[in-house]
Amino acid sequence: MRNPIHSLTRWRDEFKEIFAARVRERQLGFRQSWYLGAFTLGCFSIQIVTGLLLMLYYHPSIPQAYFDMKDLQFVVSSGVFLRNLHRWSAHAMVFLVFAHMAKVFYRGAYRPPRELNWVVGVCLLLLTLLASYTGYLLPWDQLSYWGTTVGSSIISSTPFIGEKLRFILLGGHSVNANALLRFYVLHVVILPLVIILLVATHLWRLHKDGGMYINHENHTDKS
C-alpha cells in the first residue's frame, strides 16, 4: 500500500513542473523578477475568494445593488473587511500587472522564445483593466454611475460602430438596469473565466519557454 505522505510529496512535486525541467537557482531568486507575476496571481486569487463571498449578499438590480453594498459595509459580519479586501486587492492587481509588464519589458524578457507569452500577458493586462472597469459600476453609487457614463461615452467614439457598441454593452441608451446586469455578468463570469484560461496559458508557456528569464550575458552582474 502506498504511503499517503509519499503521495502528497508526489503531488507537490507535480506542481513544481510549472517550472522548466531544469531550473537554475538564480531563476527563482527575488531580484530576477521581484515575483511580480506571482503577486499578481495572488491578488487574483484573493479577488476570486472575496468576490465569491460578496456575491452571496449582492443582487445586481436597481436600487437593491446600492443597499446591498451598504449592508455589506454596515450590517454583514466582516462584510466591510471582505469588500475592502476585494477593492484594495483589485487596485493592487492593476498596479502589479503594470509593474510586472514593465519589469519584463526593461529586462528584455519578452524576446524570443517568449514573444507569444508577452502577447498573452498584454491580453491579461487588458482583461484586468476590463474586470476593474466592470466592477466599478456594481456599487451603483454616484461615482460608479458617472464613471461608467464617462467610460461608455469613450466607447461610443469608436469610428462607425461606436454608438452600436455602446448600445450593446449597456443594453440600452443610458446606464440603467440592463447595464448593471451586463456588467455584473461580465465581471463575475465571463472575464474571470477568460482570465483563468489565459493565466493557464501564461504558466504553460512559461514552462515550455524554459522558465523565468535570466540574462546570460551579465552572469556576474550583481544587480
Binding site: W146, T149, G171, G172
Partner: protein
C-alpha cells in the same frame, strides 16, 4: 531550365483545375464553418441588442411657462435638460455634456453652464466657451402642449436658434 518550367503558365493552370477529394472537402468544410461563424456573429449582435427598452420616454413635460422667469436658465435634473427663457422666447437644450456625457449645471453667479467632470463651460445658447467639449449643447425639439405646458422631445435635436416658443 528549371526556372522556365516553373514559369510556364499552362502547367500552373493545369494543376489548379483539379482538386483532390480531400482538398474539396477541406474547402467545403472550412467555408461552411465560415458561413456558420458569420451567422453566429449576426445572431449574437441581434441577441445582445434589446428590442424593447424599459427606459423613460424621451418626450417630457418641463412645466408651465410661467415657472420660468425672463432671462433664466433652469436645469431639470430629472430629464437632463435646460429650459431657457431668453429675450426671443423659450427653448430647451440637453444638459448632457458633449464631451463624455456628464450632467452639466447652470452657474448663476458666473452666468455659464459648467461640467463638473472635466471642466467644460458653455454659454446659455449652448456654445462652448472652454474645456474639452467638442460640440455645443444640442437644442431640443420644443412645443407647447395642449394643456399649456412646455413639451420637450429629448430624442430630436434642432439647429441652434432655429425655433423659439412664445408663451
Amino acid at each position: 531550365m528549371d526556372d522556365q518550367q516553373n514559369n510556364n503558365p499552362a502547367a500552373g493552370i493545369e494543376e489548379d483545375r483539379f482538386l483532390s477529394r480531400r482538398e474539396f472537402f477541406i474547402k467545403l468544410g472550412s467555408s461552411s464553418l465560415a458561413v456558420a461563424g458569420a451567422g453566429a456573429a449576426v445572431f449574437a449582435v441581434q441577441y445582445l441588442s434589446p428590442n424593447v427598452l424599459y427606459e423613460p420616454s424621451p418626450i417630457v413635460s418641463a412645466g408651465r411657462p410661467e415657472h420660468f422667469p425672463t432671462n433664466s436658465v433652469t436645469l431639470d435634473p430629472r430629464f437632463g435638460i435646460y429650459v431657457v427663457h431668453g429675450p426671443k422666447g423659450f427653448y430647451a437644450m440637453s444638459s448632457i455634456c458633449t464631451h463624455l456625457g456628464c450632467m452639466t449645471v447652470w452657474r448663476q453667479d458666473s452666468g455659464v453652464i459648467a461640467c463638473p467632470c472635466h471642466g467644460s463651460t458653455f454659454r446659455q445658447d449652448g456654445t462652448v466657451i472652454g474645456g474639452p467639449a467638442p460640440r455645443p449643447l444640442p437644442w431640443l425639439k420644443t412645443w407647447l402642449g395642449s394643456d399649456g405646458e412646455i413639451m420637450v422631445d429629448r430624442s430630436t435635436t434642432i439647429a441652434a436658434e432655429s425655433e423659439y416658443i412664445q408663451a
